[in-house]
């Protein structure tokens, strides 16, 4: 990958350069975060002309390495005001890598109201006016159809949905998956940044591109084989995720008393089996039709945690129906009908809006009296107002923090203005440290301590106790920052956490591809350096240790059934980043 492309939306000029030397060894999150730290003014307005947005495939993307097709997107976040990296599946990353593109940056902003398409192919990059029919409230499913008809059924697409066009803080970037459905770089409002630059979509066509060069193909092949075997041999990555999807977590978090319910006022629900992974699997199987129990979000995924959820007639409703979305709507907002939840999930994908942020915002809006508790039909009607958007639609698409303010609430589950996802930090203390300290704002994927706290993968730590959590949250964040730079889906972690050979195979693949000799220590150092760069950006943007705190109500509202509070001291929390 030797091309570094800049699209200047002020002048509508494109330049393609050699990759700057300091970025040559980087990919994915390591590249996007270093770039944002180098070139974006930390105090800029995220929707102003000085923000820049960067798309970068991971180090292994485009190769035959299993699960290596994640794309990282980076910018300053309009939701949190921090640096942001959000990654997604779909086929965009592999196509960029095959075209030899290390990164594509969009900067500046045009003067007028016109929206544009950035078209990338073997001949370079062109900027065209966006077709009128996909603008002004056209949903993503339709827009993908129109763009695929215009540019070719096999092209990759990244787009700002109606929420992104309107620069709403929860807007995501939606990526076309190999079947024309939707995956998302969900968190942190990056779709609003794309919308602010008047880019409706990026379309990529790799026709004519060769294979990604591999320095030592034999070594690569051998390592990829070991790696694939590690993934397939582990019961979670090999079978569990394919059978039940991530939604299998509903029941285990519920049993552990860590499933946040009714806007974080309890840790357990009674209707868990209305929304559980077991029920999801049984419903898909029973309904048949378009339904698929397992599905991969990009070619080369062997874990296949995604699925197609059909309606009663067997017609496709939604895919990539994730635990966090189902939790947010089903437990935190109390909607008991999985079909209602599926239609809301579809609407959120179609609008291009983060389904975690929006689900948490909806539960907060229920507490604030804006929506009736547990009413899936009322929620769908309200979410549909984001297409226009009406004032209520704008409020819901502005995230949990804004909803909490509009409703005058103190129980507002956010860190750095990003909604807290599906694991209560009081009874699952490790994840609370990740929420508090990651440079991303509350984000479970930044250091998934559920693994060692609840799932007994990689560690076995009592979730209700503080012992060992600080070191664990630190190690998980460092490891994640490294994995996010490889292009690997995070779920490979389950296959390699307790299998040193699998982890070594991951490093061996990188070494074989680039003809280098990284060690496990180097990979750790890479993770550490990414976190340090991100944190330095946040500091320059005005964030201090005092922002690394959970909302105060967690300290004085005990969470039933274990009736525990959040009890890490500020000094203890600050230890997480003492490295």
């Amino acid at each position: 990958m030797n091309k570094f492309i800049r699209v200047d939306m002020t002048t509508l000029n494109v330049t393609t350069d050699e990759v700057p030397v300091k970025y040559v060894g980087l990919g994915g999150r390591a590249l996007t975060s270093n770039f944002v730290a180098d070139e974006v003014k930390p105090t800029c307005h995220a929707l102003g002309k000085n923000n820049k947005i960067i798309f970068a495939p991971g180090l292994l993307s485009g190769t035959t390495a299993p699960n290596s097709g994640r794309i990282s997107v980076g910018a300053k976040s309009p939701l949190t005001g921090t640096i942001k990296e959000s990654n997604s599946g779909g086929s965009f990353s592999q196509k960029m890598a095959k075209l030899g593109i290390k990164a594509l940056v969009i900067e500046g902003m045009p003067a007028g109201d016109k929206f544009y398409i950035v078209k990338i192919d073997i001949n370079g990059v062109t900027i065209e006016e966006a077709p009128a029919e996909i603008l002004g409230g056209c949903g993503n499913y339709k827009a993908i159809e129109v763009l695929s008809a215009k540019y070719g059924q096999k092209v990759g697409i990244a787009l700002a949905g109606p929420a992104g066009e309107n620069r709403l803080p929860s807007a995501n970037i939606s990526f076309k998956d190999p079947d024309g459905n939707i995956r998302s770089a969900g968190r942190g409002g990056l779709g609003a940044v794309l919308g602010s630059k008047k880019v409706k979509a990026l379309v990529i066509d790799e026709t004519g591109a060769g294979a990604v060069p591999i320095a030592d193909p034999e070594k690569f092949k051998a390592a990829a084989k070991v790696f694939a075997k590690a993934l397939l041999d582990h019961p979670v990555s090999g079978q569990g995720l394919a059978a039940y999807g991530t939604d299998v977590l509903v029941n285990i978090l519920n049993e552990a008393g860590g499933l946040p319910a009714n806007n974080f006022t309890a840790g357990r629900i009674e209707h868990n089996d209305c929304i559980s992974g077991e029920t999801l699997n049984a419903t898909i199987t029973e309904r048949g039709g378009d339904g698929k129990v397992s599905h991969g979000c990009h070619p080369g995924c062997v874990i296949r945690c995604s699925q197609w959820y059909p309606d009663k007639q067997g017609k496709y409703i939604t895919s990539g129906f994730e635990y966090e979305t189902i939790w947010g709507l089903g437990a935190d907002a109390g909607i008991k009908d999985l079909d209602d939840i599926a239609y809301i999930d579809r609407a959120m994908d179609d609008l291009g809006i983060d389904s975690i942020e929006t689900a948490v915002a909806i539960a907060t809006a229920m507490e604030g009296g804006l929506l009736p508790w547990g009413d899936g039909k009322a929620v769908l009607e309200a979410v549909n107002q984001i297409y226009e958007p009406t004032p209520l639609g704008r409020i819901l698409a502005s995230g949990t923090s804004v909803v909490g303010k509009v409703c005058g609430l103190f129980r507002v589950p956010v860190v750095k203005d990003q909604g807290i996802p599906a694991y209560d930090p009081r009874p699952v203390k490790g994840i609370g440290l990740t929420y508090a300290t990651t440079p991303m704002g509350a984000d479970h994927t930044a250091g998934y301590c559920i693994s060692g706290n609840i799932l007994k993968v990689g560690a076995n730590i009592d979730p209700l106790k503080k012992d060992g959590q600080i070191e664990y949250a630190r190690a998980m964040q460092i490891g994640t920052a490294a994995v996010d730079s490889t292009g690997m889906c995070l779920f490979v972690y389950f296959g390699i956490a307790d299998n040193p050979g699998g982890y070594q195979a991951l490093i061996d693949m990188i070494n074989a591809q680039y003809g280098i000799a990284l060690t496990a220590v180097d990979v750790d150092k890479l993770g550490e350096s990414v976190l340090k760069v991100e944190r330095a950006f946040n500091k320059a943007a005005g964030f201090t240790n005092a922002h690394d705190r959970l909302p105060e109500f967690f300290e004085y509202e005990p969470c039933p059934p274990h009736n525990v509070v959040w009890d890490f001291t500020p000094e203890e929390i600050d230890e997480v980043y003492n490295f």
Binding site: V236, A243, Y244, E278, C305, H444, Y448, I454, F491, H562
Partner: protein
């Protein structure tokens, strides 16, 4: 003593998802796992009253035991 037993994911195949079991004093989750013909490695996660537990922890009357195969997500 009376113990509530809850099973999840693949452990529900050909078994009730929830049942009451009458066990002798001193019984442990291991006794339940054996009685239900669950292979030891299938019982990857055990909770007693919502807290992580080992298979040899002694149960008390009215305890709830939840048993999971290896599961993950995120």
């Amino acid at each position: 003593m009376q113990i509530k037993v809850k099973l999840f994911a693949t452990l529900r195949e050909n078994r009730e998802k929830e049942m009451m079991m009458d066990l002798v004093q001193g019984a442990t989750p291991k006794d339940i796992i054996e009685r239900l013909n669950i292979r030891a490695e299938e019982a990857a996660i055990i909770m007693i009253n919502g807290r992580g537990a080992n298979s040899d922890q002694v149960l008390e009357d009215n305890d709830t035991v939840s048993i999971f195969p290896p599961v993950g997500g995120g």
